[in-house]
Amino acid sequence: MTKNLGLINSIKPRIKEIRLSLYLLGRNRLTRLSLVVVILLILIALVAPYIVPYPEHIETETNPEDKLLLPSGDYFFGTDELGRDVFSRVLYGTRISLQTALVAVGLALLIGIPLGAIAGATGGIVDEIIMRITDIFLSFPPLLLAIAIAAFLGPSLENAMLAIAVSWWPWYTRLIRGQAVSIRERQFVKAARAIGTPPMKIVFGHIVPNCIAPVIVQASMDIGGVILTIASLSFLGLGAQPPTPEWGLMVSTSRNYFLNAWWYSIFPGLAIFVTVLVFNLLGDGLREILDPKTRKI
């Protein structure tokens, strides 16, 4: 009984926080719109296998007699060179793109945050070593590095995710480290030291939670960027392999039919465009609510 009460009590303030966050998110019309679209995209990704009109067109089945048909009542976005429904494939592609983007960004965060926080919080030689390694990674153009790694690991969607994570984490490390250096000087960190809190607990219990906000913003904006990078890798043949309905891959194959089948490239392209845009807008909105100045109200 009392246990439940404690649980409820510890959830209550968080609910209040969430309500305030939603209020702040909703103040900006563009953010509100992007939030709705992002939620819609996530929903589509979740239920895609069950709602697509031609689930058999996702994988291997082909339908040569219906190839390259114009958008119609049967095929909303037309069909591709193998007669597969583009609408079904674009819808299903949401699942693939979001999944890979989330995993890639998540992996990058998993490497980047601890390294950055430790570097910023400890300083000295540890900081020096970690940051020089990040500098090495940062000295390559990110896409080039991802291409090199993906080519080295061999073309597949999993390897593309890994390649992106490896080329992406240094950005988070640098961001977190900058924050951590300023948080380190805050009094509550000194207070924790005065209590005798072990250093690693200070890093992950005090410093990380306080410098995570800009990283969340960056990460949500990066989801767009990562989707784009995966699409690029797939376009170059280094990411998803046919017949996976990955947007980049679809745009890539549609190149050959562009002149007589515009719908084939337009719809996956549009999907990439919208997804990247809404995640960027959402990131901007998150910046607003995570900024302590606007929070004060």
Binding site: K3, K12, K190, A191, I195, T197, H206
Partner: protein
């Protein structure tokens, strides 16, 4: 002194000023330059001085946040800088601090339960409901409602946050609490309550305080003994009544004269000391205060004054103090 709790002997803390390719120290900031103090169990020591006089560094050394350059600190008879890790952990529980700014001394992302409970979690195996109950007790002790445990710091006012900081400092039942400007960033009403609370807690729990403050009305109200610091040295030290009543050092006098109170009428009744605090890298020769002292003579530039007994237990470092006969 029979039940002395803290003994500081000739404590020095120098910070290197580095420059050049190999980061060689080229000079030293003499933040604390030979401080000797002794505190009895249950007393309140007021530490007074301008910013940059070394108060904060002194406290950091006492809290073991910094290593001293030289000197000794004995806490409860144990040498603080010469002990094994296990006894150090034990000692650490006994010295706690309350910081000046209650807005930055509490981690804004944590619940009060986790902030106040942190020292308990670090030093004991206590968690879950037991911890929440303990934190609730602490909250009640500082006059806050129990259910505040499940709130975030920003839901409290400045005065309440300072109470939370006090609750955290008391979580491990320390013997010595350092109060670093505990009321300087909250308003008078909260200040009055915090001071009352601190006095009350001291009586109830038998605490010893080191109170850093630039507000002399606060020091006067709280302190049994006062130490005035200037550029890393103590220039006057003694029972509060004597330091306030028979102020000996010209620096202390100047400090007192600069403070406007309710009885101040017009700007002419407060005075200021000319000039700024000199750099602690190259402190002035002789008496460190001679550059700003209204009564400085040649001797002050050449010879550093030693501590002179003005009265029973009241000492000051100035060439112009007449020693009490037989004192």
């Amino acid at each position: 002194m029979a039940n002395s709790i803290l003994k500081v002997r000739a404590l020095k803390k120098y910070f290197p000023v580095r420059s050049g390719f190999f980061s060689k120290p080229v000079a030293w900031v003499k933040a604390v330059d030979g401080v000797t103090l002794e505190m009895e169990q249950g007393e309140v020591l007021g530490l007074v001085g301008e910013s940059g006089c070394g108060k904060t560094t002194l406290v950091n050394v006492l809290l073991k946040l910094e290593e001293p350059t030289s000197g000794e600190v004995f806490f409860d008879g144990l040498d603080l800088f010469n002990m094994d890790k296990k006894s150090l952990r034990k000692i650490r529980k006994n010295i706690q601090i309350v910081f000046q700014d209650p807005f930055w001394s509490l981690n804004p992302r944590l619940l009060i339960r986790d902030i106040v409970g942190e020292p308990i979690k670090v030093h004991t195996n206590c968690g879950g409901e037991e911890l929440a109950t303990k934190v609730g007790d602490l909250m009640e002790m500082v006059g806050l409602p129990r259910n505040g445990v499940y709130k975030y710091p920003h839901e409290f006012s400045g005065g309440e946050r300072q109470r939370i900081a006090i609750a955290r400092a008391l979580a491990l039942s320390p013997k010595l609490v350092v109060l670093d400007e505990p009321t300087s960033s909250i308003d008078v009403l909260s200040q009055a309550q915090i001071l009352e609370l601190l006095r009350d807690l001291k009586e109830r729990l038998g605490l010893t305080y080191i109170l850093i403050s630039h507000d002399l009305s606060v020091v006067n109200y709280m302190a049994d003994r006062i130490a005035v610091m200037y550029l890393g040295k103590i220039v006057e030290y003694g029972p509060a009544e004597d330091v306030f009543g028979q102020t000996a050092h010209p620096y202390t006098k100047a400090l007192f004269a600069a403070i406007p109170t309710l009885d101040t009428e017009g700007i002419d009744s407060i005075t200021t000391i000319e000039g700024n605090v000199p750099s602690a890298i190259n402190p002035p020769s002789g008496c460190r205060f001679h550059t700003r002292c209204p009564m400085a003579k040649d001797i002050c530039k050449e010879k550093e004054p030693g501590m002179v007994d003005c009265d029973e237990g009241h000492i000051a470092a100035c060439h112009f103090i007449k020693q009490k006969p037989g004192g």
